[in-house]
Symmetry: C2
Subunit: 142 residues, 2 copies
């Protein structure tokens, strides 16, 4: 089953490769339809899996029940905002140190890991602050 070239697969990859958010299959499907209006959702899924299996992209499971996709296959972690659901890259120094720490006192062999950090993203923090300020103003003036 040697791979053949396909324009649709290129389109899926090209859509993903410049993105820093981590879209789901649905978003990718909608995006690629701009260029290929007749592409089917199944084709998008199939090619995403092929791209993953060939190491071109990676899947990111953030625990919200849907698969996210990421063209950045380098070793990095993710941050998930519990307020807006946004998934951001999280650059982290001494990423190898974590593996070392985990390997201590473990009898098996650790080949990789993925960490998901949860919290409130910068823009949601700003929104929250603005909301608080507004309520404070209303309370003092009203």
């Amino acid at each position: 089953m040697a791979l053949k070239h396909s324009r649709q697969r290129d389109a899926v990859y090209n859509f993903l490769k410049d993105r820093k958010d981590h879209p789901t299959a649905d978003t990718i499907y909608a995006g690629v339809r701009d260029e290929y209006p007749n592409i089917s959702l199944g084709t998008v899924y199939r090619n995403l899996m092929v791209l993953r299996d060939t190491g071109k992209i990676r899947t990111v499971d953030v625990g919200d029940g849907v698969i996210h996709f990421d063209a950045d296959t380098s070793e990095h972690n993710h941050f998930i905002c519990t307020r807006c659901g946004r998934v951001e890259d999280l650059e982290m120094e001494s990423i190898d140190r974590v593996k070392e720490i985990a390997a201590t006192n473990f009898a098996g062999k650790i080949t990789g890991y993925s960490a998901y950090f949860y919290g409130i993203c910068e823009s949601c923090l700003t929104e929250q602050k603005e909301e608080t300020d507004r309520l404070n103003r209303e309370q003092t003036t009203g």
Copy 2:
């Protein structure tokens, strides 16, 4: 919607509370049916979610497409064997250190994290070794 006591909910929790593997709803359903043959899968799911929402148990998403459940709500990480799918607890010293490292250079607010370590578990390592030894024997004697 004040909670009422239910024997089925107790049974679900009791099944889970002494386990160190991290069973899925299916396994829990099968297990509880020993005691309550007429319990329905929906009841199991409903009570698992109630138990989670009340902080009695936690859900563990290891990326295999199904939800795992864990009665150990303390802060700890998990190891997933990529060979047999087993999910084990992974005790890890300086677990807070990881959060500190991640918080560096991040503008948002990190409230928690979960890390999943992948590799080959101890028993699979043993099996692999036995398999290798067997093949070596066959090669030298055949």
